[in-house]
């Protein structure tokens, strides 16, 4: 963190107006910050804060309808905004490079990864194919990919998410740029992979002495890698400074609010043992997916849920934690019989749900409800909130008038205006929609609520509110909740017990403090070690 006379990158009073008719006039409004060579600058903010746009503006990759009207982007003293496209092209990929959020869609699906990396070298003047090939192998090796000679000829879809992001990074590093912009590079990755990628970026930055601009929404990540931090809110920079200062002594109320909302296990508030009556007993549940196969090849078999057993009492919250592909969502779908079950028992109030036919199970459905992940996809855009909330009770034989009255009550209960009844989901924000989703589930007065990644699509501040709401409702209504999440921090915060799933099996099962402090399984240990920002306690920052 050595300050230099001329910063590597200086954003000076940059403004980018939005097209007319949107909720605000500027995407970013008069922002200024510096990035020095050899430092990692984190731009942090919630969705719509303008952080990604700023990154794209630097690279000159804004969509046609957005043009900066004011300010300068000085890269090594030269104003990038004044450069013409061909000139910019010589800088891009050579002196400044970018890594994107979604590594699959950011790679050309029809081009071998080696060729995609080599292209950077080719467009910037490396004429020798041999030289390019050697460099590609070096780069793949450097970013820690196994068997570079082989991997070079693979297509992106063959690679795992982490490998793809390593390819992206190799591509960005090809010509050892002075500036690396990473736009949420780990958001789409599992937590263990995220830890590896963060480690890689830090390693590279140190080895090459680059300036890194790291865009993220996750304060845990910030705590792990940032030298300095810029906090953005709705196009404005509300706070900037050294990482330690911003994280531990936030000044601006917005920053404080964000940090307060970061999920964190408080060792202090250990949960009391729940001793309600037994509601659900799952025994030896199995679900197998098989695909492909034919006369000449074997089908691919995935044991998505493999011999899983657990119990749940009234008023209890069970957290099911796992990375993508662990089978946690399949488990949720099995419990709701949204998919065929291949074996085992689901004893709900003592009777087995597994053998029931779809029509025999339908009357029982109201007892087991679900809150979905995506607040945008989970509400029918063609129906009013009122219709969404009354459909369930009506389908279960409740007269409409009664259902309507109940729906209005529920809107109030989940913290929405009663007038929301006649409006369409599009008119609400993500958090509000998720409240509608919860109200829909509650409209049937269920005894068990399965929440599948119900807060992971939400911004951190909204996330906290929804979590609070769920806990509050559980206390009021004494329902059992199965909370499926990839985020161990959230599970630890709200669950009575946690089941860690790995490759279709529960590898760790117990109360949060045991899972966190004394994980028995190697996977759980790796998972906990990978939690970003574990050395930092946000609670202390906003005390």
């Amino acid at each position: 963190m050595t300050a230099q006379a001329t910063p590597l990158l200086r954003i000076d009073n940059l403004s980018i107006p939005l097209p007319a008719g949107l909720d605000r006039a500027f995407a970013v409004d008069n922002i200024s910050f510096d990035l020095n060579a050899g430092e990692i600058l984190c731009i942090v903010g919630e969705s719509g804060s303008g952080k990604s746009l700023t990154a794209n503006a630097i690279m000159g990759l804004l969509p046609d309808y957005l043009t900066p009207t004011n300010g300068e982007i000085l890269f090594r003293g030269k104003n990038l905004l004044a450069m013409r496209e061909p000139e910019l092209e010589t800088e891009r990929g050579r002196t400044m490079a970018m890594v994107f959020q979604e590594p699959l869609s950011a790679l050309n699906p029809l081009m071998k990864v080696g060729d995609q990396i080599a292209e950077v070298l080719q467009v910037h003047g490396e004429k020798s194919a041999d030289a390019r090939n050697r460099r590609v192998l070096d780069l793949l090796e450097f970013v820690g990919l196994p068997d570079p000679a082989n991997l070079r000829g693979a297509y992106p879809f063959r690679l795992s998410g982490g490998q793809r992001q390593r390819v992206m990074i190799a591509m960005a590093l090809a010509l050892e740029p002075a500036l690396l912009i990473a736009d949420e590079p780990t958001t789409a990755l599992d937590v263990t992979t995220q830890a590896q990628i963060l480690e890689l970026i830090r390693k590279i930055q140190q080895a090459k002495g680059m300036g890194v601009m790291f865009v993220t929404h996750d304060f845990g990540v910030v705590a792990d890698i940032a030298d300095r931090v810029v906090v953005m809110e709705r196009g404005l920079i509300v706070e900037q400074g050294p990482a330690d200062a911003v994280l531990n002594r936030p000044q601006h109320p917005y920053t404080r609010r964000l940090i307060a909302a970061v999920p964190h296990r408080d060792a202090a508030d250990a949960k009391a043992e729940v001793d309600g009556e037994m509601l659900l007993e799952v025994k030896g549940l199995r679900k197998v997916y098989s695909s492909g196969g034919g006369l000449f090849s074997k089908p691919r078999i995935v044991k998505a849920v493999n011999d899983i057993s657990f119990t749940l009492r009234r008023g209890e919250t069970l957290g099911v934690v796992g990375e993508s592909g662990s089978g946690k969502s399949t488990l949720g779908r099995c419990l709701l019989k949204l998919t065929e079950i291949d074996g085992g028992e689901i004893l709900f109030r003592g009777s087995d749900l597994v053998p029931l036919s779809a029509s025999a199970f339908r009357p029982l459905r109201r007892h087991i409800q679900m809150v979905f992940q995506d607040p945008f996809a989970s509400l029918n855009p063609r129906q009013t909130v009122g219709r969404i909330l009354t459909d369930g009770p009506v389908a279960n034989g409740v007269p409409y008038a009664e259902a309507e009255a109940k729906a209005r009550e529920l809107l109030d209960l989940v913290g929405l205006e009663v007038s929301a009844f006649d409006r369409y989901p599009q008119e609400f924000s993500g958090g509000q929609r998720q409240r509608v989703g919860i109200a829909r589930a509650l409209a049937l007065e269920p005894e068990l609520l399965v929440a599948d990644e119900s807060v992971s699509a939400l911004d951190v501040s909204v996330q906290a509110q929804v979590l609070d709401l769920l806990q509050d409702l559980q206390n009021k209504l004494n329902i059992a909740i199965i909370f499926i999440t990839h985020d161990l921090r959230i599970a630890a915060q709200i669950c009575d017990r946690i089941a860690v799933m790995y490759r279709g099996e529960i590898v760790e099962y117990g109360p949060p403090e045991q899972v966190f402090d004394a994980p028995r399984h190697a996977y759980t240990q790796a998972l906990i070690a990978a939690i970003p920002g574990s050395h930092w306690n946000p609670r202390l920052a906003v005390l």
Partner: protein, 278 residues
């Protein structure tokens, strides 16, 4: 209101709508505009458009008024276009919805069935159907419907397949709604805009198909239609250009108008695509 605003932003779509409205008005008021049957000889044969102001579009070889033919032809073109499309959409939506919603073996069977129809060239099939069941307005309409439903079925199946796994549909299952109810109240309303857009384009194609059938002599012999007029005038192309020219232009304009409307609808119903269009 916003829908119309979005639609109105597309000038092409507005022009298309204007043309179609004119065509529709002419079609509806044809008996008022031309009280004498379009089949009736009303003037000298083969009057060119400039010869007699009473016949601004000229007359054909039997002295029939081309203008009257155009007006009555609009009725047939629009009627066949719309009805055959409606029938095709009903067939296509039913098959596509069942296949997409239930999947598995039902999907396999229905899609194989659809493929049979797609493998046979649509126009060739239409010719055979019309010829076999004798050309009349019913057989032509049904034949066009029978050859044009497969794309709808595929579209609807695709929509249903993707919507079926959407969370709001899962939610409908979870709250205990029945299969048919979910299909009609949850999925179908969300699949309706691509269906409408496709249907509007199918109307255009149906009009083209009808005219091609008539051109080959497989039209309804009691209905004055544009394709028939061109077919009848085809042999006299050099002697009396106006006999085939005006009906050709009528088809072109109408089909063009409907296509423009289709694009306008598409833009208006899928506003997120608009940013990318020119």
């Amino acid at each position: 209101m916003t829908f119309f605003k979005r639609y109105a932003q597309n000038y092409g779509a507005l022009i298309g709508l204007a043309i179609l409205v004119i065509v529709a008005v002419v079609a509806l008021t044809a008996p008022l505009l031309f009280p004498v049957s379009p089949w009736q000889s009303v003037g000298d044969p083969l009057l060119s458009p400039s010869e007699n102001p009473a016949f601004p579009f000229g007359t054909d070889m039997l002295g029939r008024d081309i203008a009257a033919g155009l007006a009555y032809g609009a009725r047939v073109s629009l009627l066949i276009g719309i009805v055959s499309t409606a029938v095709a959409v009903v067939i296509g939506v039913s098959i596509g919805a069942l296949a997409g919603f239930y999947g598995g073996r039902i999907d396999d069977i229905l899609m194989r069935f659809t493929e049979f129809f797609q493998t046979i060239p649509a126009f060739a099939m239409a010719i055979v159907l019309v010829a076999i069941f004798n050309p009349n307005i019913v057989s032509i309409t049904l034949a066009i419907a029978v050859v044009s439903w497969p794309p709808v079925a595929r579209l609807v199946r695709g929509e249903f397949l993707s919507l079926r796994s959407r969370e709001f549909v899962q939610a409908a299952v979870v709250i205990g709604q029945s299969g048919p109810r979910i299909m009609f109240t949850q999925i179908l309303p969300n699949a309706i805009s691509p269906i409408i857009v496709t249907a509007s384009l199918m109307v255009a194609t149906a009009i083209l198909t009808e005219s091609s059938l008539s051109f080959l002599g497989l039209g309804d012999r009691n209905m004055m239609s544009w394709g028939f007029m061109i077919g009848a005038a085809r042999t006299m192309l050099r002697e009396a250009w106006w006999m085939s020219f005006f009906p050709g232009v009528a088809i072109l304009l109408t089909v063009l108008a409907i296509n423009l409307i289709g694009e306008g609808l598409n833009d208006a119903m899928n506003p997120h695509l608009r940013g990318r269009k020119g």
